[in-house]
């Protein structure tokens, strides 16, 4: 288990403050954040490249906060791979093995095994300058795995790859994690995080905003930033009104004047609310349903997604609604068409 306890560091104008996380053995933690949020610094602190000014890092019960870089059982794969340009792929992978007293035959065997696992056996005699981005990333992974780290740290490993290579590498990372290897993966892509992680941590301006299982973070974001960063749309800064009717519903006004009914009150006059796109029903006419929030609007934009179609509906506020491609075609939902959207009061979450 890796415990990060109240880690802080100041680097010039940037500071990482009070980061605390617990990563179980075999976990796959994704650290999500914008560029400059402090994700890479966090990895460098775990790897020992940056000394924290405060806090501790405990790995399997051992305090490694002041342990030298070369003795820490953590392996870091840099975003730009940092392959040694004067060594071929074989020598790059064998590099960490030569730090130990291992026979040449055993080194050859381990390099072959890692090359097979990462599917780069055919590249062993090539030099880094001749490799594609995906190949170089696999070599960097194999090289780091050769040092047999307890925790594998990945700094935006998929950032420079095309969609096909991303998919292939994602599969490889899952395979590696399935062997029991603990992985901490830094990215700014919430989709990447959602598809790979067992846990997600969200960092903004050097502060840890939220961490937990992906479902918890994506379904119950603690702030507007987390929600937007998690890919959630339909977030509105609402003013809560005093309930005048004798119902359980709490009315709130959006900036454009739409009234949204909720079943909970934030305890303050203004708060952010969100409505997950998949909880919104889109129809050609007004429906007679239990949904207390119904608005007429017009389709403004239509975007094709991998798993359906995203429609932007203008009701005064812009709502994002995701429906299947088949529904979009059957009901002829095209830009300009007048439609109705409806959602239950229980679907509206306060941030």
């Amino acid at each position: 288990m890796l415990e990060i306890k109240d880690i802080s560091v100041k680097l010039g104008n940037f500071s990482l403050s009070h980061i605390s996380l617990e990563i179980e053995s075999g976990d796959y933690l994704t650290v999500l954040g914008l560029s400059g949020a402090g994700k890479t610094v966090l990895l460098e602190i775990i790897a020992g490249l940056v000394r924290p000014s405060k806090g501790e890092i405990i790995l399997n019960g051992i305090n490694i906060t002041k342990m030298s870089i070369q003795k820490r059982p953590v392996g870091l794969v840099y975003q730009d791979m940092a392959l040694f340009p004067h060594m071929n792929v074989f020598k790059n992978i064998a590099y960490p093995l030569k730090s130990f007293d291992i026979a040449k035959k055993e080194i050859n065997r381990r390099v072959e095994m890692l090359a097979e696992q990462t599917r780069i056996k055919h590249l062993l005699n090539r030099h880094p300058a001749t490799l594609s981005g995906g190949e170089a990333q696999r070599v960097a992974l194999a090289r780091t795995l050769a040092s047999e780290p307890i925790v594998l740290l990945l700094d935006e490993p998929l950032a420079s790859l095309d969609i096909k290579l991303r998919q292939e590498l994602r599969e490889l990372l899952k395979e590696i994690n399935n062997t029991g290897k603990t992985i901490i993966h830094v990215t700014h892509d919430h989709m990447e995080a959602a598809t790979l992680s067992k846990k997600i941590a969200i960092i903004e301006d050097g502060k840890l905003l939220q961490w937990g299982k992906p479902d918890d973070v994506f379904r119950k974001p603690v702030s507007e930033f987390v929600a937007r960063f998690s890919g959630i749309k339909n977030i509105f800064h609402c003013t809560f009104l005093n309930s005048t009717n004798n119902t359980d519903l709490i009315p709130a006004k959006t900036p454009a004047g739409n009234t949204i009914n909720l079943i909970e009150h934030p305890g303050k006059e203004k708060a952010y609310v969100m409505i997950p796109g998949e909880d919104i029903i889109l129809s050609q006419n007004q429906l007679t349903t239990s949904a207390t929030n119904q608005y007429s609007g017009q389709i403004k934009e239509r975007y094709s997604l991998n798993h359906g179609v995203e429609l932007i509906i203008d009701t005064g506020e812009l709502f994002s609604v995701i429906i299947s491609r088949k529904s979009a075609e059957n009901l002829a939902f095209t830009p300009g068409k007048k439609v109705w959207i409806s959602f239950k009061a229980s679907a509206v979450k306060i941030l």
Partner: protein
């Protein structure tokens, strides 16, 4: 701007003048020396001895002082410490002070009356009037070339590669010999070759410390002063050819053979 033929002509004309300024005297001395003069000078044992002493002394200066300066170059490229700027300035001092003054300064610390001179004498090493003194004088004036080139070479190696090597379990010493030095090799070797070449041509500092045994630049000066241009020119021509050969070798070995940044 270069599309304008007048501007282009002016640039080509002045560039040509500068190139000619460097090449013309060298070509002149090489072409004015007759085959007979070359043959006679090559057979002159005094010339052969002086060239041998010059080449070997400069080589020893490079191997002893240049190689030892490589860790300092790495330190200057990688670490920040108090007075680093001052140390960088001190390294360049031998380039800016007159070399005869450098010779006088060196004489103060290696003459027979000095501590180093006495220790050397105990060990059977005579600095003044001997090859060890020539080596010290050559090293003093040429060491900035080795340090500066190596420092720039180490600075050009991405620090991330060294950190990656440390993260892979390598000791700092192994990182230096397996990553930093091989990747800075081109600059380090180029600096050492420049140091050797600069040592070969040293006159001012060497003449103060050791008139004898005679290095080639002193021999050229002595022949010019005692016998005139026709006796000095063939020695100078042969020495220029040797320096040119070293320069060409340097260009070949410092050829770019891989990309440091991947």
């Amino acid at each position: 701007m270069l599309n304008d033929w007048r501007t282009r002509s002016i640039i080509i004309f002045f560039s040509g003048l500068i190139i000619l300024f460097i090449v013309a005297p060298l070509l002149g001395i090489l072409l004015k020396t007759s085959t007979e003069e070359y043959t006679r000078t090559l057979q002159d044992t005094e010339v052969a001895n002086s060239i041998r002493i010059t080449l070997l002394s400069s080589l020893m200066a490079t191997l002893l002082f240049g190689v030892l300066s490589v860790p300092l170059a790495w330190l200057l490229a990688r670490k920040n410490f108090p007075l680093k700027g001052l140390i960088n300035g001190i390294i360049d001092l031998p380039v800016v002070i007159p070399h005869s003054a450098a010779g006088i300064a060196l004489l103060g610390i290696i003459s027979r009356g000095s501590f180093i001179g006495q220790v050397g004498e105990h060990a059977g090493i005579n600095f003044v009037g001997g090859v060890p003194g020539i080596v010290v004088a050559m090293a003093f004036v040429s060491i900035p070339f080795a340090i500066n080139a190596a420092r720039d070479g180490f600075a050009a190696v991405p620090e991330k590669l060294e950190k990656a090597a440390l993260n892979l379990g390598a000791s700092p010493l192994r990182v230096f010999f397996s990553i930093s030095l091989p990747l800075a090799k081109r600059s380090v070797v180029s600096g050492l070759v420049m140091m050797w070449a600069r040592g070969l041509s040293e006159f001012g500092a060497v003449i103060i410390i050791a008139y004898h045994p005679m290095v080639t630049p002193i021999l050229i000066w002595e022949r010019f002063a005692s016998f005139g241009l026709s006796w000095a020119r063939p020695v100078a021509a042969i020495f220029i050819i040797i320096c040119l050969a070293i320069f060409i070798v340097m260009r070949v070995i410092t050829r770019k053979d891989y990309h440091v940044r991947n």
